[in-house]
Symmetry: C2
């Protein structure tokens, strides 16, 4: 038997395009002489469709896609993920299902049993868990189909579920495991994925065909990295990251095994490629081409601009340099040098007059009150307004350039530098921003070294440095990582050797700035715990604050 894996990029709700893409892939699979082609989880509607699943109209359109795919599944078997209506009135109205299509019709429907409901996942919000564990025979071979999470309760110290679908399936003596997934990217996730799937292969001694989504869905990035395992636990093949691919395997070759064809997993490259895909897909799927950014001369906007150029092309990226009375000359020079290195359109628009017009209007009310964060925010907001004016007039999407460390502690101005339709590096800590910039500069000086080497500053008052109000980033970032990614509390973090007062101060800053993160752009997710849909905190609370 020859099994084809189609790793594709779907567009949520775009049934027509998703279906056509799969019909085309079925033809490719036929050309590759495949007996069976596998598409990923919820492929008809894209993943995650979120509350669109609550619309009967949405489900009807998915059913229509399945009907069209079934017609194409004439001489070839098709496995494809889609929502399936629960025929029973009790329980949730849908199942997260895998359809097996063959000879022009739906042969069988398999229901996902383990419904991830944590971090970015909300599956129990929509789906009833499956409790029938069915395998099926196709051309004399018995196949066990599972859906994503169904395989993820092995290889964990603290399993989230009390049942194990493959254990339930084994009495029927399946010969092949197929898993259709929609498993989002995090920079260390590809490694973990192989670990978990390997644990399954080693437990059941069966070959495994695992197909994943690729492409970006708002903040979620899907890297693909579909996998074929030989029953001896070796990786027979690993699909490329961040791109579509369709490949067919002879089952006998896979069973014989022997190869170990994994791709290198380099943190900087993975994050870089993920962000480039995330920007590009956001624009393409929304029907936009052009981005605008504010370029400050600092490292965050520099990195964001490089990524935007790689995603959209230099001809589609425009930057504004908007010095205020507190900007240093080197900032403008560094920003200009970057823009020229990248060959992008840039304009220098000093904000002094606009800033002064606000000060004049506010003077009767503010009187002699001292310069404070109000005036700092005002400058940031003057810039945000100018960028939005260009965005509105010329049809750009404004890209936000705030990093994760700043997002965490609220070091940014709401409606100012926090403006933007998409946060490019909001899931990249400042120390990781430095790493990425050095990695980008490995061969050529794309980002001026001065931008990378100078002390970070918001330049909103004379001689300001980030370290005036924040700990150094190599102290700040590990504490943030422990609190945000690792869910460690103050006791645990202090026990790791960090200064008591510093830890409490940072945790308080994170918590009291929840209101800012509530109002910021979606953040491209590259870590296991990003700000956004996967991290849900009350704004009004009194905990560590």
């Amino acid at each position: 038997m020859r099994i084809c894996i189609a790793q594709l990029d779907y567009h949520i709700g775009h049934f027509e395009q998703n279906t056509q893409k799969m019909l085309d892939a079925i033809q490719v699979a036929k050309d590759q002489k495949a007996d069976l082609v596998c598409f990923s989880e919820l492929a008809t509607c894209g993943y995650p469709p979120r509350d669109f699943l609550e619309f009967n109209d949405f489900i009807r359109r998915s059913d229509d896609s399945i009907a069209r795919l079934a017609t194409a599944a004439d001489t070839i078997g098709v496995v494809v993920g889609a929502p399936a209506v629960n025929p029973v009135v009790e329980g949730k109205d849908l199942y997260n299902a895998a359809y097996f299509l063959y000879e022009g019709k739906i042969q069988q429907v398999f229901r996902k049993a383990l419904l991830p409901t944590y971090d970015v996942f909300d599956e129990y919000r929509y789906f009833e868990p499956g409790n029938a564990f069915l395998s099926f025979d196709f051309k004399g071979i018995r196949l066990a189909i599972t859906i994503c999470e169904d395989l993820w309760n092995l290889g964990n110290e603290n399993p989230l579920y009390t049942i194990c679908p493959m254990d339930e399936l084994m009495p029927a003596k399946p010969e092949v495991m197929i898993n259709i997934s929609a498993s989002p990217f995090a920079w260390d996730h590809a490694e973990e994925r192989i670990h978990v799937l390997k644990a399954n292969v080693e437990r059941y001694h069966l070959p495994l065909f695992y197909v994943n989504h690729c492409g970006a869905q708002t903040e979620l990035l899907f890297d693909g990295g579909s996998l074929i395992f030989s029953p001896n636990g070796l990786v027979h093949d690993e699909f490329p990251y961040f791109m579509e691919a369709i490949r067919t395997y002879d089952l006998n070759d896979v069973i014989q095994g022997g190869s170990q064809r994994e791709q290198p997993k380099e943190k900087n490259r993975l994050i870089h490629d993920a962000l480039v895909m995330g920007i590009g897909d956001y624009f393409r799927k929304l029907g936009f081409k052009k981005a605008i950014l504010g370029l400050s001369g600092g490292i965050d906007s520099a990195l964001s601009t490089v990524l935007a150029v790689r995603a959209l092309g230099a001809e589609n990226v425009r930057v504004l340099l908007m010095p205020s009375p507190f900007s240093s000359q080197h900032s403008v020079e560094d920003a200009r040098a970057l823009a020229e290195n990248l060959g992008i359109q840039y304009d220098i628009i000093p904000i002094g007059n606009i800033y002064q017009s606000y000060l004049d209007v506010l003077q009767p009310y503010f009187g002699d009150l001292p310069f404070n964060v109000t005036e700092e925010n005002l400058q940031a907001r003057n810039r945000g307004m100018l960028l939005m004016a260009f965005s509105n007039k010329f049809g750009h999407i404004l890209l936000n350039t705030t990093n994760k460390s700043e997002m965490a502690v609220g070091y940014g101005t709401l409606y100012g530098d926090l403006c933007g339709g998409l946060s490019v590096i909001g899931d990249v800590y400042k120390t990781e921003v430095f790493d990425l910039c050095r990695w980008i500069n490995a061969e050529d000086e794309i980002i001026p070294w001065n931008t990378i080497r100078k002390p970070p500053s918001a330049e909103l008052r004379p001689n300001q440095k980030d370290s005036d109000s924040l700990p150094e980033y190599d102290v700040l970032d590990p504490i943030l990582y422990q609190y945000i990614e690792k869910r460690q509390g103050p006791q645990e973090i202090i026990a790791q050797g960090y200064d008591n007062a510093t830890v409490l101060r940072i945790l308080r800053l994170v918590n009291i700035n929840e209101f800012k993160r509530h109002q910021t752009a979606p953040v491209l997710r590259v870590s296991a715990k990003a700000f956004g849909m996967g991290r849900r905190m009350p704004i009004v609370a009194k905990y560590l604050s």
Copy 2:
């Protein structure tokens, strides 16, 4: 036996204050000669604690609260909701539990079986469902304890769950039902709550003591409205809405029944009181006193200002009137009249000079391009920046005054009139805004009648009216209601008699403006489906758009 119901307002994560409040209530219950006092669901930590539940430190503090309450539960029994650690490694790490405390210690722990995971609820994200159904004997009477949703699978046409906890509890022959809840307000929910609880009482023929939260938690409003049912299905007592109360009942009186003491449920009053509580609690719990708003002379900012004054006091509300070159004279006069009626501080700050300073700077880039939405947004943003400058300088929270109809179709400017820390009427449709204003004006002209009667306009270009770009609100709002609240698709809405093109246009507007709602303030929730945590949509999608 005498049973006390303590309907209290908790502060999420504020263990010290929540515990002290319950200790005080235990003393009141003792004074009222109660044998048993009942607090609501997750009372130690407040509801919903969201991802704070993932911190062991947070759970430890809750455990400490339980220990303190147990000490106070010496001669009185205490039922109180709190998270409980799951002792088994498989499954989620916590249960949503009810503790029974007596004679100084934890006597028993009851686990919630039905975990709401829809709309604003995420309980399966954190909790393992309970599957042991225990009752307990106290002073010779057998009590059945359930937690909120556990009673909500009766009285629905389409139950979400396949089991029914009270059915499981009945074989032990309980004599009293106690339900501890955290059931958020919607204006039609009190009616539904009585319907569902009554269905339980009528099925099991048992008296029911139901205790709910009151108070606001960011966007969620809890009305209280705790209920005592006689076994004959009559409401023995209903607690007041939107305030704390502690009342004790003799079980024999409740069993005898006979009264039907329900409160009137008037839509305008309920929404009004809910929003006043929501504003007040948001400020009190965050430690703020003062609000600022932009007053346009229109109905939305007028209503929001009245509500703010009722929540915070006239002395704590300040408004800015910020006419642009396109503002009409009557708008300024209407706004001024309202401010004077309310006795609040107001200042008139024309934005013309600031607006012009932007136009001057932008002229070299915009050239002869025509006036469009860019310049409209600019005016809205100039106002937003001024309001934020006051907010920053004087420590106000800026209140957002956008209504639900505008939020739905994106009729508002990001970083402009969509600025603010809290959206007051973002869950109130425009037609409901009119109703509320007329209701407020029933006796005195608080809001100038001219504000209510004139055609709605954003006044961002000459002679602009909302109806230039939107259908009339009495057409728009019912279509929005069908789509947002009722989850009806285009076919179903058109089948109700609405114009085909209008429906498709409105649904498209709702969907393509998801990006704006992603970046706006939390919206006080008064309907069954509000924008915010209870409505989760992808930004990047191609569905009805």
